[in-house]
């Protein structure tokens, strides 16, 4: 899950990382109060998506009145599909320079990578593309974490990449970065995060390093180790996620790996590769997939029923293509699930089931007995479902 800025910063603070003083405001009055407390403040929309600044979701306010007005403008605003439920009001920092500091999963190195750049701020993504040499990198041993000497070298490398022009003295930089990077890396490991990012990492005019913004993404597979936190943060995010696709929200609640795609052919399969290939097949045959839904390995009948029900919640769906190749998943289980769903849910849209692999015969027998004819090959099944949906007036 992605944490909102104020959630990320709460984690940062616990980890010993300095953040600006601030408070969350749900009303313009609360924003004004923050300005009374902190003076000049930045009012920032709390939405789980980037590009807030460009969308007008971040405003500087010099006094209470300005803070009230900024909050009025931002609260309830729509930012790329997300309605803003709250703003974070933080003391405005005296910014001498903006660095970038992030700990992220590096798939290629199969490791976390620590990235530091003196060319931080809003343009970091452009920097990453056009002058990647300006981002110094460190791949720490995952058991030891980054050693102080490695962090110092990272800082020296980042500094050398901008010709040594680091705004604050080298010794001050090194002294502050060592604990900062250690804390951020520990936090990333402790939260089982795949991303912990500070951008900008602000160098203030007093030469202190302060986290200007924060991004944290917790690995979904590891959420079982962070039940309480995920629940707490998730509840808090419900409001912020109001702009989320309601079908995807519902799927998450049901524990299903579902992506809403907007077409009219419901797709269910087992294994992400297979489901993606199924989407490709539907497209190749002229159809428009309504969704991606992977029931995963070893799915039982109940999961299949749940998946069918989920797909049918999308009113655009005019037919469903179930594509199962049994490995861990067994044909008989899937067949039972399909039949249970059809009977209990009274499914009326066309249903094409293609099934092969483990317990294929048993599964086919069950389907046939129940009057459902399974398709033999995936392309054939794709063609069939696209035809059936088209016959119902769906897109072709």
């Amino acid at each position: 899950m992605k944490l909102l800025e104020h959630q990320a910063k709460a984690q940062f603070r616990q980890a010993g990382i300095e953040c600006p003083m601030g408070r969350l405001a749900h009303t313009p009055a609360e924003a004004a109060e923050a300005a009374r407390e902190f003076g000049r403040v930045v009012v920032k929309a709390q939405v789980p998506i980037g590009g807030r600044g460009k969308a007008g979701g971040v405003k500087l306010a010099g006094d209470e009145e300005e803070a009230r007005r900024a909050a009025e403008q931002i609260l309830g605003m729509d930012i790329r599909g997300f309605t803003v439920p709250a703003v974070l009001c933080e003391e405005a920092l005296d910014i001498a320079r903006e660095l970038y500091l992030g700990v992220a999963l590096d798939r290629d190195r199969r490791s976390l990578v620590v990235m530091l750049s003196f060319a931080g701020g809003m343009e970091i993504e452009e920097v990453a593309e056009t002058s990647p040499e300006k981002i110094a990198k460190l791949w720490p041993d995952p058991f030891s974490g980054p050693h102080p000497f490695e962090i110092r070298q990272l800082a020296l490398d980042a500094l050398a990449a901008v010709g040594g022009e680091g705004t604050l003295p080298k010794s001050k930089l090194l002294a502050q970065l060592v604990p900062l990077v250690q804390n951020l890396y520990s936090l990333c490991q402790r939260l089982d995060a795949t991303l912990c990012e500070i951008n900008p990492l602000v160098v203030t005019s007093e030469q202190r390093l302060i986290a200007g913004d924060g991004k944290v993404e917790i690995d979904q597979s590891a959420e079982f180790r962070h039940h309480d936190l995920v629940k707490e943060l998730g509840d808090d995010q419900e409001a912020a996620a109001s702009g989320d696709d309601p079908l995807e929200v519902e799927a998450k609640r049901r524990g299903l790996t579902y992506v809403h795609l907007g077409g009219d052919v419901g797709v269910i399969g087992n294994g992400a590769g297979l489901v993606m290939n199924t989407l490709d097949l539907v497209k190749q045959h002229g159809g428009e997939p309504a969704n991606f839904l992977d029931i995963g390995g070893g799915a039982k009948a109940e999961v299949v029923r749940n998946a069918l029900e989920m797909v049918l919640l999308d009113p655009a769906v005019k037919g469903i293509f179930v594509n199962i190749f049994g490995g861990i998943t067994r044909g008989d289980e899937v067949a039972n699930g399909v039949i249970a769903a059809r009977d209990q849910l009274g499914i009326r849209v066309p249903l094409v089931v293609r099934m092969t692999g483990t317990r294929e015969e048993e599964g086919r027998a069950i389907l046939e007995q129940a009057g459902i004819v399974p398709a033999v090959s995936a392309p054939e099944a794709a063609e069939k479902i696209v035809q059936l949906v088209a016959a119902q007036g769906g897109r072709r």
């Binding site: 999963l105 798939r107 290629d108 199969r110 490791s111 976390l112 041993d141 995952p142 058991f143 990333c188 490991q189 089982d192 995060a193 795949t194 690995d219 979904q220 597979s221 590891a222 079982f224 180790r225 790996t257 992506v259 795609l261 399969g269 087992n270 294994g271 992400a272 590769g273 297979l274 489901v275 993606m276 290939n277 989407l279 490709d280 097949l281 497209k283 190749q284 997939p289 991606f292 992977d294 995963g296 390995g297 070893g298 190749f325 049994g326 490995g327 861990i328 092969t356 692999g357 483990t358 294929e360 995936a378 392309p379």
Partner: protein
Amino acid sequence: MSILLNRESRVLVQGMTGSEGTFHTEQMLAFGTRVVAGVSPGKGGSEHLGLPVFDSVQEAVAKTSANVAAVFVPPPFAADAIMEASAAGVELVVCITELVPVNDMVRARAFLSRRGTRLVGPNCPGLMSPGERAKVGIIPNQNGQEGPVGIVSRSGTLTYEIMQALGRSGYGQSTAVGIGGDPVLGLSFSDVLELFAADPETGLVVMAGEIGGADEERAAELIGRGYPKPVIGFISGRTAPPGKRMGHAGAIISGNTGSAKSKVEALERAGVQVADTIEQIVDLVKQRLPKPAAV
């Protein structure tokens, strides 16, 4: 011949006494695999499926000389099971378990790389060397057919599809390897391609990738530097919209990186023919390898 797994391989199953472990151990045995032991901490000394069960991999290896481990334990314990197998001297670990925390795998990888242990997976179907009657993992037995095609794929079910489609045209496999769909994996496409390059039975390699990551691009670089055998490529997820996470923790497109387009282009630049459909994979194999080896 084959890669990674052959008729001499002595397999132990971690989590054998669980329901998935039980089912798939039966299937492995039915395929002809030399499964020699199960490991279930706390159940050591018992028997299951006619095989001895040990409390630890160390004991299992000491008593049965197992050299391959199949991991069927639940996600919270999977990385530890992988490291246990490595520490006990097992040469090849195959982790079937899905939803293993990514940072657990980062640690397990670092642990294994120090010891030189090979890992396939996690979140993978495992591998099968049909000519050797050896399988570790969950690839359906009926898909195994001896032959000259090496298969390496990120997706389990797609591996089965490809095996089945090729098999129907008479093309069996030297070894089929599902490397798994997670962001942090053991063997990469490149690693497996290098093994296939050295395997005399393998006449051609089918490489089935998907969106996300850069392993396909890395493999393309390897092939581009000169690869001794024909390679047929396939990339799934080509119609997936960018920025959407497609189930596999691995399968997400962010900007241009890891897109199907980038992968297809990289492969084609390296001289790899990339199929659009599984049927086309079969056609391309037929062109490059006109006579399937007799089985």
